[in-house]
């Protein structure tokens, strides 16, 4: 079911840890421009799947395709450089760096080459100012501007989540993989994070795959939802359709 509008897909991917097949012959495909949800009970293999798609783990068999290119077995940083950026279940800010600096790390830049960094600063100075301007605009958008010079480690749970989203956007992704982006956010603040995810998808036309436990959030955000159970993707559709799907019901009830 791979079509020309598929941005990320995997076919028959398997990864076993010892005797446990965390992901077992799973296939999925994600349409460009959508917000797709990935749900499933604990231990269904969602996080392993995200780790395979983003290159943190290498599948034992199967194929991963991103933007028509086969990226199976690519190292994580190479997949990220192609525009597939992920976030983590545990917030992963650079604690002893300022909020602004956290954002400045994200883009791929000339000044990361050794010779340019040390011996030819003029080669990256202008780019640095452009990135600063972009980073500051993003901080404004996410309401973190007044914290620009604060150490990221001093932020609250919700602010860290926003920072992570802003940092991911700074890398100019074509697609985002959000692994439980609401974990650690105070209940009253989740709406803000959700609004930003919608804005990222619609305003910037970034495709989003989101792993989340809360069905309300998934229903609110996602047009398409994938259900994983025991390492396999067993169903795909809108929440409405999934509620009527006997396999899904069975898995969630049993």
């Amino acid at each position: 079911m791979t079509t020309s509008d598929t941005v990320l897909s995997c076919e028959n991917v398997t990864l076993a840890f010892g005797g446990l097949r965390a992901v077992d012959d799973a296939s999925l495909s994600i349409q460009r421009g959508t917000i797709t949800g990935l749900i499933g009970p604990n231990g269904a293999g969602k996080s392993t799947m995200v780790n395979i798609l983003s290159g943190q783990l290498r599948p034992q068999s199967g194929r991963v395709t991103f933007d028509t290119a086969d990226v199976t077995g690519f190292q994580a940083h190479r997949i990220a450089q192609r525009g597939l950026i992920r976030t983590f279940q545990l917030s992963s800010e650079f604690a002893r760096m300022t909020v602004l600096e956290n954002l400045m790390v994200a883009p791929r830049q000339t000044g990361e080459r050794f010779w340019s960094a040390v011996f030819y600063r003029r080669g990256w100075r202008d780019q640095e100012y452009e990135l600063l301007a972009r980073a500051e605009n993003l901080l404004r958008e996410f309401g973190l501007f007044s914290l620009a010079d604060e150490y990221a480690g001093n932020l609250s749970g919700g602010q860290r989540r926003l920072l992570e989203l802003a940092r991911a956007l700074m890398a100019e992704p074509r697609m985002l993989l959000l692994d439980e982006p609401l974990a650690g956010v105070a209940p009253g603040r989740t709406g803000q994070v959700i609004d930003h995810i919608v804005q990222i998808n619609q305003g910037r036309s970034v495709t989003v795959l989101i792993v989340e436990h809360s069905m309300e959030v998934i229903e609110q955000l996602c047009s398409t939802v994938l259900v994983m159970i025991q390492g396999q993707v067993i169903a795909e559709g809108s929440m409405q359709q999934l509620r009527e799907n006997p396999r899904v019901l069975e898995a969630y009830i049993s």
């Binding site: 983003s54 943190q56 190292q75 994580a76 940083h77 190479r78 990220a80 450089q81 950026i85 992920r86 976030t87 983590f88 992963s92 800010e93 650079f94 604690a95 002893r96 760096m97 300022t98 602004l100 600096e101 956290n102 400045m104 790390v105 994200a106 791929r108 830049q109 000339t110 000044g111 990361e112 080459r113 050794f114 960094a117 040390v118 011996f119 600063r121 990256w124 100075r125 202008d126 640095e128 100012y129 452009e130 600063l132 301007a133 500051e136 605009n137 404004r140 501007f145 007044s146 620009a148 010079d149 150490y151 940092r167 991911a168 890398a171």
Partner: protein
């Protein structure tokens, strides 16, 4: 006269140590890499500068080494730095791909012990335990007397020390240094943003290797003798300690830590009355003193005398925004930050 000699000696020791501690700061301070094999690079630099300036070994003489050449001044020093890079590359390529943290420290510690034992126990290779002596010093024609030469040598190490300092500063303040710090803070997240951890680590280890080798080469030239003891494991921990005392990740801290450990403690010990009368006691008291101070710093002030600073951008338009916020208006409304700060025209003029 004596005081002047004393001061030049201390200055020379300071700059030679500074280069080594900058190397440690680049690896352990900036990247959090506990790579102890920098001491092998220090030894390698010293041996290279020795055998390339001592001339071919004379059969039957007291010191024996496997090769020998007589090359004019800057070449042995450059070769020393290059060999330092090569050694760091070999060790780095072997260990950096899979190892982190404590594992890395233990493995590089073992590598140090193996290499050290092999060289110490092979008399014909690089002098073995006897070492090498009579290592020529550069720029001798510039000064007639011993005192005069002390100044010349001080100038020579000061220039190289300052160059290494500037190198480190530029590295730390570049986007490359920023990516390195991100790797230290959270490797997984930095990789997920597209940073190649292996490449960045290897670059830092190779630059650190070059600086350690340079420091060793200068030390060999200064003392004119090179044996396995100045690059033994005993020398690893004072270097790391100096960086911790000064402030990891801050080059000014590295300089302050160098001053504190190699000058204040190293020399201060000699002024304690009961130590100065008993030469054997000196090194023991120094070890105890250093140990107590390092542990004290780790306990009470782990970020050192001069902690790593927050990143600042000189002409940051942010300050304009901050003032805007203070008087109630929304910052950056409708104006691009580059234009507000005048950066656009600044860079246009300078370009």
């Amino acid at each position: 006269m004596n005081w002047v000699f004393y001061a030049t000696t201390l200055g020379t020791v300071f700059f030679i140590n500074l280069i080594l501690i900058l190397s440690v700061n680049l690896q352990l301070g900036l990247l959090g890499l506990p790579n102890l094999s920098f001491i092998i690079c220090l030894g390698a630099g010293a041996y290279v500068v020795s055998i390339f300036s001592l001339g071919p070994a004379v059969p039957g003489s007291l010191q024996q080494y496997f090769f020998g050449a007589f090359l004019p001044f800057p070449i042995p020093l450059i070769l020393a730095a290059l060999v330092g890079v090569a050694v760091a590359f070999i060790v780095g390529a072997l260990v950096l791909y899979r190892m982190r943290g404590h594992t890395l420290a233990v493995i590089t510690l073992i590598i140090v012990l193996v290499v050290w034992s092999v060289i110490n126990g092979t008399p014909n290779f690089l002098g073995g335990a006897n070492g090498l002596f009579g290592i020529p010093q550069p720029f001798h024609s510039l000064a007639g007397t011993t005192l005069g030469y002390g100044f010349v040598f001080l100038g020579y190490v000061a220039v190289l020390g300052c160059l290494c300092f500037v190198f480190n500063q530029r590295f730390f303040k570049s986007p490359l240094g920023r990516a390195a710090r991100a790797l230290r803070e959270n490797e997984q997240a930095a990789v997920a943003l597209g940073k190649d951890a292996y490449r960045i680590r290897l670059i830092a280890v190779m630059c650190g290797g070059a600086m350690a080798a340079l420091s060793g080469a200068l030390l060999a030239q200064y003392s004119m003798i090179w044996t396995p003891s100045p690059w033994s494991l005993d020398e690893v921990f004072p270097a790391i300690g100096a960086m911790i005392v000064g402030g990891r990740g801050n080059n000014w801290g590295a300089a302050l830590g160098t001053f504190f450990v190699s000058i204040v403690i190293g020399q201060g010990i000699q002024w304690i009355p009961f130590v100065s009368s008993d030469p054997g006691l000196g090194s023991a008291v120094q070890w105890i003193g250093e140990g107590v101070i390092f542990i004290g710093f780790l306990w009470f002030r782990p970020r050192g005398l001069l902690p790593e600073r927050k990143a600042r951008w000189d002409h940051s338009p942010r300050r304009v925004g901050a003032f805007g916020e203070a008087d109630g208006s929304r910052p950056g409304e409708g104006v691009r930050p580059l234009e507000r700060s005048g950066l656009v025209s600044d860079s246009a003029v300078s370009a």
